[in-house]
Symmetry: C2
Subunit: 596 residues, 2 copies
Amino acid sequence: MIRAPMATEKVEIPKDIAREEMLHRMRHSCAHLMAQAVQALFPETHLTIGPPIEDGFYYDFDSPHHFTPEDLEKIETKMLEIAKGNHSFTCTWHSKEEAKMFFAARGEKYKLEILDGITDEKVSYYHHDTFIDLCEGPHVDSTQKLQYFKLLKIAGSYWRGDEKRERLQRIYGTVWSSQKELDDYLQRLEEAKKRDHRELGKRLNLFSIQPEMAGPGIIYWHPKGAQIRETIENFLRETLKKEGYLFVYTPHIARLDLWKTSGHWDYYQENMFPPIEIENQPFILKPMNCPGHILIYKDQLHSYRDLPIRLAEFGTVYRYERSGVMHGLLRVRGFTQDDAHIFCRMDQLQEECANVLKLTLHILQTFGFRDYDIKLSTRPEKFSGALENWELAESALKKALTSLNLPYEIDPGEGVLYGPKIDLKIRDCLNREWQCSTVQVDFNLPQKFDVTYRNSEGKESHCVMVHRALLGSLERFIGILIEHHAGLFPLWLSPIQATILTITEGQNEYAQEIRKSLLKENLRVAWDERTEKIGLKIREASMNKIPYLLIVGEKEKKEGTITVRKQDGSNLGAMTCDSLSALLRKEIESRGQNPI
Amino acid sequence: MIRAPMATEKVEIPKDIAREEMLHRMRHSCAHLMAQAVQALFPETHLTIGPPIEDGFYYDFDSPHHFTPEDLEKIETKMLEIAKGNHSFTCTWHSKEEAKMFFAARGEKYKLEILDGITDEKVSYYHHDTFIDLCEGPHVDSTQKLQYFKLLKIAGSYWRGDEKRERLQRIYGTVWSSQKELDDYLQRLEEAKKRDHRELGKRLNLFSIQPEMAGPGIIYWHPKGAQIRETIENFLRETLKKEGYLFVYTPHIARLDLWKTSGHWDYYQENMFPPIEIENQPFILKPMNCPGHILIYKDQLHSYRDLPIRLAEFGTVYRYERSGVMHGLLRVRGFTQDDAHIFCRMDQLQEECANVLKLTLHILQTFGFRDYDIKLSTRPEKFSGALENWELAESALKKALTSLNLPYEIDPGEGVLYGPKIDLKIRDCLNREWQCSTVQVDFNLPQKFDVTYRNSEGKESHCVMVHRALLGSLERFIGILIEHHAGLFPLWLSPIQATILTITEGQNEYAQEIRKSLLKENLRVAWDERTEKIGLKIREASMNKIPYLLIVGEKEKKEGTITVRKQDGSNLGAMTCDSLSALLRKEIESRGQNPI
């Protein structure tokens, strides 16, 4: 017997509710709406969970019916029909026992498993029209608010995200406050799809992932992608060296004991690959570069006069991710950090952090990112290190931010166990935010590894460590760059900066001469020497996102010039090899800060 | 009862015996001589094995007595006494059963174990004076030939090289034909000791190995060592790119299946680290870069016009070595190959091999190595691929060697399963040979992975692959460089090229100015700004093998000059910052080919 719900509470929406909070509620409510429509059309479908996510929502269904894109249209029509009914969202409270009976009677076994995991005595349902879901809310007041939605795609998933559990079907959707907002979003999606780094990476032959042969989430950098990575590494290395960083190389494996000393084995094990046994000793594929840099620091004695010591590395680390969550270059199992660790005295901390921030901005701006979102995370409830040091470190970070006039938000209590940190997000041309740079103060590892310097009184004193990565992961950053530039990189980053397109074989010798003289100027120049029509050559070079097309026919050969076009089709006319070279060099040296 | 030996055969030495063969016999005989002396002095000592080795011999003893350096002198005296007795070496043959009884009676349990492993019916003893050893020979005719020897050191070892078996004591010695030869050798040893890259690496702060914390055989490159490696990588990258190589990056792990397809799992497993289980899939730390490069090649379609494709990588590989055999940078568990794989057509093979050899010589000469020992290894009895291709490949390699006028020896049947190869050894300043470069033709992997191109008739055809490494392992090559140069690198490789030594604080500002202007010229310049006496600063900089010492006092400051000394103490007098910079740049650009 199913009891009638307890006293019902209509959803009241506060007047001053923020736009973001409102969208969040709409997305959550729309997930319920979709679930109702799905069960109405496919009654054998079981519900699992359906949360709001960034820009939309999803619901994971267990259904004997295999959903198709055509089904999505039917579901949308049904959803709209229900939404127009102007049904209120209401909330009721029930004992857990009662809820178990209720969902058992409906055959909703996943809800029962969820209930088993809830420790509270009472649970809430949300109702609208005939639909009831076990849910904490919050929701909108009425289904009428849910008019501007769109179902986007069907994907496979697993119950509890566990490959060993039931396979589910996930339907993604989005909902907005107006038709215009919805249209804008769908257009952004369309634009993002065109910029998808996985598609572009394949089409431009930049990298590959070979899940069957080699495994998921590890990147094979093809020559053109490797050239981009090399250019970035060279630029960073040159810039960092000028700032007093010293580069090191550390190995990819080390004894498990090292990771026990560092504490990673206790706190980070689920992200680490399992040990490899060698002569009865377990070894670990490195998930972090810090312990290696500490070993290098500790191999020598240091006086207070030697500090700060800034050790940098393009360190490739390996971290376990479930095979289901990997995503192109953005989420992988192996990646290369532009990592560095600064060993300094407490009195040097502020200046070091300010320098790191300044360097970060310089580097991000060089890559064309000028919009940031900066957060300072302060002392959490559980922390290691002396309170006094935390206060000094937080104040050092604040002063560093202020000295550079950087606006920031404080995330109270969100610092890591071992120290406060600054996180910086960049915004790409589609207005998406990406967490890249991080600056973290650390009192913990210097204690664990006894990382010291001899102070001015001749006593051993613990260093402060600063962990910092500016781009974060090179793989991920290049993924972002591909999408940001839609594959058309600024000249200094372009793997091929220009290509010579000969009209007939008659210009082969002249083309070779030009190529040689441009290569001498360290320009990356290709030559399409096929006997194809020039129109085709131009189209292909343009498709391949080569910034400059150098067209060479009989006329150019006679006059000793090159006709120069840009990738977008604009024509710069004829010029000599020398002026072209000067033009390109200037654009490269400006690193896109002053594009022609 | 011990039976008298069977018919004795005196050792006869052929008249035309080569010097090397004679030294080999002397070393083997001297091991017996030492064993006799040891058992005479320490009767409870048991014998294991005592082979001749390069430049000398050793014997592994199981003795309750703990040998000390003082013992070595006593043993030497005893050996000389026996040697002067002019005892003949003789050989007798015995049945295995008889030998077992003989050595059992003497309590020589290790000899019994050796006998257990022998499948022949008869075994030989070698006798001299009162000493008898189970031995295959050959030996010298008389102990009188063993006058110019020296015992060198005591080391720990294990029976059968197995850490789980009995711990033994190994005594090393050397023996030569004359006092002069012995003296020369001991001096070379002394010189090699001074050049030991492990000592210099530590003293010059180039790298460390941290067996306790991180594990044996993996290298931590400190800033100065990392700078050397970076300079080498940059030089190679620049040079290879000009030769049409394309650089890639491949990950350090891949599924075991990849190594099954390549055949490494079947034929190379004992050198590989054991698998890591991830989501029930075994993954392997890469011992080779070839399969990764093949995956990149195969990710695209290729026409006969696209070949050759030359993929290069500084690829860090991990190979299992027993912890006992590791040696500084020379024998390690993780190292970085200057690896490349050329995918080409059969008709391109000769030119490609000739180009690789030309490049190899250019690069080795740049590093100062001009003496080579080249071997061409031809088809072994067991081989894969068509006979016709083997003949073409061997002829291509021969023609490539001949076209460059390179003298070489043929090692018949010593090619690898999958193709013929050329190995090149370099000779260092102590006349030691080091195997570095290798060029291997491969018909096998292209078959296993179905690596093809579309030929001119539009059909898929298998590529030929050339595996080539010029320096081999960067770690090992840098180890050799350290010993070859005794830590004083040519200027272009020096991690610190010059250091400014100020006489008093009065020149600090001037020193900073000089440093800034030299750094701008991309020179690696340090500054010793301590308030120490100039004599001490000069001594320390010289000890630290910094090529140029820039001394700056009041006089220099007033005159706008620098007093320049070289590391060896030679004085180049006063010069302006500009002329110094020009001098250094010229020496760097010549890469030591025309040292000043």
